[in-house]
Amino acid sequence: MSDRHRREWIYKLCTYGAIVGLFAFFLQVQNQADEYQIRILNVSAIFVTLAVSYNLINGVAGQFSLGPNAFMAVGAYTTALLTLSPAEKELSFIIEPIIWPLSVLHLPFLPSLLIGGAFAALLGFIMAFPVFRVRGDYLAIVTLGFGEVIRVVANNVQSITNGPLGLKGLSEYTNLWWSWGVAVFTVFCVTRLVKSSFGRAMQAIREDEVAAAAMGINVFRHKMLAFVVHAFFAGMAGGLMAHLITTISPTLFSFFLTFNLLVIIVIGGLGSMTGSIIAAIIITHAGEWLRAVEEPMAIGPFNIPGIPGMRMVVFSIMLILVMIFARQGLMGRREFSWEWFCGFLKIGKRRG
């Protein structure tokens, strides 16, 4: 075995070791941490899934989509409708009864989640045809439009979505294993995809669409691939989120969600999966810390009233400042690698 091969083998072992370590950490957390901390970790995992898949289309393929809330909505509704038992569904659909095949279907969590992702991917596939006929800021607006359309539709087709009332009383299936399992799976799939020839083609399209086409890359098909993969994982994340907060309604999937994701991938660095993961975890936690700002405080003799809504002000300002002063975000387009890590720790350096 050559030196290089041995090295790659060791790096691979390190990766698996790190994943095992992560889950060992969760085993510990599940026994000791309180419900609130576990919830934050779950939300972090869902946002890691979302951010990494969103970065695939926005950062890697360079197609500025503003529609992940649409895919999340589809994934969340599909998963929820499949995991609810027929009796529960009959109970919650008060205004209009639920239509036939949905009224009797009842599946376990994993197949529901996968079907939720698949439906989101299907929507992505259909959307790709109109969406990728336009570019740049028009693409952003069209995808935003699709997000709004999905929300309005969810509000109106009461026999499927229960309209504005939404779906309530979902079982809380999402736990650390599910959320982080899906997150790790997403990171694995997306990073493999980025490193493959498909991923390189997507990057080529991002840099120069005409040149990429001239080199024989099928531009539309690669954009669509990125979009559909993004949709699939966003749909799964939607399903996970639905079964974490146990209640969904159309208002949950507004542009607001997309904005949060945008903040995450911009701060992490458009195009860097490592950046997305770090930023997703930081922003989720920061959102919780900033709750302190919104609550009344007493510093010495002074009572400072809480300022509700301050969190979003901070995030908006952060987004603008990053765009003006640090367009590369935390990581730019760099990725974590064991090679860099070892160099950082100054171990295993080659002699000479």
Partner: protein, 295 residues
């Protein structure tokens, strides 16, 4: 179809459409000059209604004075937003500028929630706008007549500015070729500031009439008119002011007529604009009126 009902709804449609048109002009002028979708345009509109609200309800000024002050302050706000947020990213990739604009939009909305509170506030409606006339079986709400009239007046002013003044000529020139205009000794940044001022002032006028129409305001009220006016601008061919007016009227009228005569689709009203947008971009990406320049 009942003719008088149709006429009544048509008038409502034109009234709504002229509001869209007023707001759309701001989008289209800014896009025509610096190729930026000013995402915050709808939220600038929201802030303007709060300026007017404070003038009328808190400082007890006459309503017309409050409206004038609100429009001036909003123009100033537009200039400040351009200076603080958009000018630093002017030479960055267009997507960076768009992300900044989205950031400004959320900043205004959430600052609005923090400063003004989330509860809707009642907006003042002058008496002469609160009357209903009956003309040959057609019930006419006086506001629905005044809105198109004021819009027409403001439009005339905008066209005077663009085609009869030196700065107007400079604006049209910047839209055509920014670098060349710089060589001619025109201060491009001042022209852009002026564009933001005019666009924001028109949004303020539209927003205040919008607020008088519904008559209440809240910090998130700008989102929907903003998005729809943007759609109107695209329908007319973004960058084209005549197109923006045309697109606004078209969107407003079809929306009202759709709701009035196909009530079963009323719930889909807000999706309608986007479906129209997607269709337009698919089949006529440059909009109905075409051409990518101001004027």
């Amino acid at each position: 179809m009942d003719l008088s009902l149709f006429l009544q709804q048509l008038l409502n449609g034109i009234s709504l459409g002229s509001l869209y048109a007023l707001i759309a002009i701001g989008y289209t002028m800014v896009y025509g000059i610096i190729r930026l979708i000013n995402f915050a345009h709808g939220d600038i509109l929201m802030v303007s209604t709060y300026f007017a609200y404070f003038g009328i309800s808190v400082y007890a000024l006459p309503w017309w004075l409050s409206v004038i002050i609100a429009i001036l302050l909003t123009a100033l706000l537009g200039i400040l937003i351009d200076l603080g947020a958009y000018r630093p990213v002017r030479h960055a990739p267009r997507i960076s500028a768009l992300i900044t604009a989205i950031g400004v939009s959320f900043l205004l909305e959430n600052l609005g929630l923090v400063v003004f509170g989330g509860r809707p506030k009642a907006f003042y409606r002058p008496d002469f706008l609160d009357k209903t006339y009956e003309l040959g079986g057609v019930h006419v709400f006086s506001l629905s007549i005044w809105v198109p009239l004021v819009t027409a007046l403001l439009l005339a002013l905008v066209f005077l500015l663009l085609y009869r003044t030196r700065v107007g000529a400079a604006m049209r020139a910047v839209a055509k070729d920014m670098e060349m205009v710089q060589l001619m000794g025109i201060d491009v940044n001042r022209v852009i500031s002026l564009t933001f001022a005019v666009g924001s002032a028109l949004a303020a006028a539209g927003g205040i009439m919008w607020a008088m129409k519904y008559p209440q305001i809240n910090p998130l009220m700008g989102i929907l008119p903003g998005l729809k006016a943007f759609v109107a601008a695209v329908i007319g061919g973004i960058g084209n002011i005549h197109g923006a007016v045309l697109g606004g009227l078209l969107l407003g009228t079809t929306e009202i007529l759709l709701v009035a005569f196909l009530p079963s689709l009323a719930g889909y009203r807000d999706a309608f604009a986007f479906v129209l947008l997607i269709l337009i971009l698919l089949f006529r990406p440059t909009g109905l009126a075409g051409k990518d320049t101001i004027g």
